[in-house]
């Protein structure tokens, strides 16, 4: 989980506090759909798991994203 959090942090391009319970769309003021796509691509690169847009939209927290990425 720690590695996953570090990976997602890189998407934000600014220092952010991130835990497994963080709602990733609310971490920065201007979360955009492009950031969402970047998260999907990051997961695909690192976890070899291609999330559909619907699967991504169903996630709210970092932990839910992690579970989707790792198939838990």
């Amino acid at each position: 989980m720690d590695n996953f959090i570090e990976l997602i942090k890189e998407v934000y391009d600014e220092d952010v506090e991130l835990t497994k319970d963080s709602r990733f769309r609310e971490v920065v003021e201007e979360f955009s759909s492009m950031m969402g796509f970047e998260i999907i691509l990051t997961i695909e690169d690192e976890y070899d798991k291609r999330l559909s847009v619907d699967e991504f939209l169903a996630c709210d927290t970092i932990e839910e994203l992690y579970n989707m990425a790792t198939g838990k």
Partner: protein, 352 residues
């Protein structure tokens, strides 16, 4: 993989022309359909400050013509020495005749000249180099003038957030010439027509003729308002496509050309929006210093964006004895890339 290799073609000139009408993105829509906060977001996330718009009676050919004349003069080319003219646009003067023929006549070029249109928006900048280089490599031509232009703003809804605040009109010219000494160049061109609807002007041809019904403005699920007579872009799909395809083709063309990462001085990418460019850079795992950016200055200038990047590099004295990888991508879908060496490129940047 469709790879084109040439050995005796070089880029000897690049020109670009921006219309005189320059506007802040805050002045795009006088009716303020979108709230200021949303425009702020476009400014902050997508990096757009200013856009350029052609006059209502100014076509893509009109944007290119003065650039072509100025570049020909600066190069010192005799008009009758130009034996190839390629015009790439998605906003031609006519569907027939080819606008390349109109421009050939207007420029006073010889009839011993290939003149063809290539229908393309943003990816036209490299598709044309792929075609024009082969005219020279096969011995058909010695000097090919490529003209690139679009006036997409005219058929873009001001209430389409994903386009109206991104797109600029512009014209450009690239001069290719036969060179006796070897100048190895590698070009890769891909297409995915299964996604042709992702970026489309629906009533621009004979498939869906314009009718009073196609002019009716409708609102989509994101609050954008446009008619079928105006450009449509599925921004999510285009973003997803570019973020995957472009980093891959940059690596492919570099390897096919036999270059290591350190051999590349600059990667010149089409400039669709700042976030996308930055993401491609991140995914390409290369140095950010190798990727010049001009989207913040000019907006998305479609197939003129790479010529503008070259002009800006030249202004900084960085376009001499330089190894370039260039890539354009967009509607079609097309994505393409070229690896080549340039030296002593004649450059012109002007208002048209």
């Amino acid at each position: 993989m469709p790879v084109i290799r040439t050995n005796h073609v070089k880029i000897v000139g690049v020109g670009s022309g921006l219309p005189k009408n320059k506007m802040s993105i805050y002045d795009v829509d006088k009716d303020n359909y979108f709230p200021k906060e949303k425009i702020d977001k476009m400014h902050n996330n997508v990096g757009i400050n200013n856009l350029y718009e052609a006059d209502i009676n100014q076509t893509a050919a009109d944007l290119c013509y003065p650039v072509a004349e100025a570049l020909i003069e600066k190069l010192g080319w005799e008009k009758d020495s130009i034996d190839g003219l390629i015009f790439s646009t998605e906003t031609p003067d006519y569907t027939t005749p080819a606008t390349a023929c109109f421009l050939q006549g207007k420029l006073g070029l010889s009839t011993d000249c290939i003149a063809i249109d290539i229908t393309s928006g943003c990816p036209g900048s490299i598709n044309t180099i792929g075609v024009g280089s082969q005219f020279i490599e096969t011995g058909a031509c010695r000097r090919v003038l490529i003209l690139l232009g679009n006036t997409v703003r005219r058929t873009t809804s001001k209430q389409d957030y994903g386009l109206a605040y991104l797109i600029s009109d512009a014209g450009a010219a690239v001069a290719l010439e036969y060179t006796e000494e070897e100048n190895p160049t590698t070009i890769i061109m891909y297409a995915d027509g299964s996604q042709y609807e992702k970026l489309i002007l629906p009533t621009s041809g004979f498939r869906h003729p314009k009718t009073p019904e196609t002019a009716i403005v409708k609102e989509d699920e994101y609050g954008n308002r446009r008619s079928m007579d105006q450009y449509y872009m599925d921004g999510h799909s285009i973003f997803d496509f570019a973020a995957r395809a472009v980093p891959r083709i940059l690596k492919e063309v570099r390897k096919e050309h036999g270059w290591e990462e350190d051999d590349v001085d600059y990667y010149l990418l089409h400039q669709p929006n700042l976030y996308m460019v930055n993401l491609i850079i991140k995914r390409a795992k290369s140095s950010t210093d190798k990727f010049p950016i001009n989207i913040t200055k000019y907006g998305n200038t479609s197939n003129a964006s790479i010529s503008l990047l070259m002009n800006d590099l030249n202004d900084e004295n960085k376009l001499s004895n330089t190894n370039l990888v260039m890539s354009s991508f967009g509607g079609g879908l097309y994505w393409n890339a070229v690896a080549t060496h340039v030296d002593d490129v004649c450059c012109i940047k002007m208002t048209v």
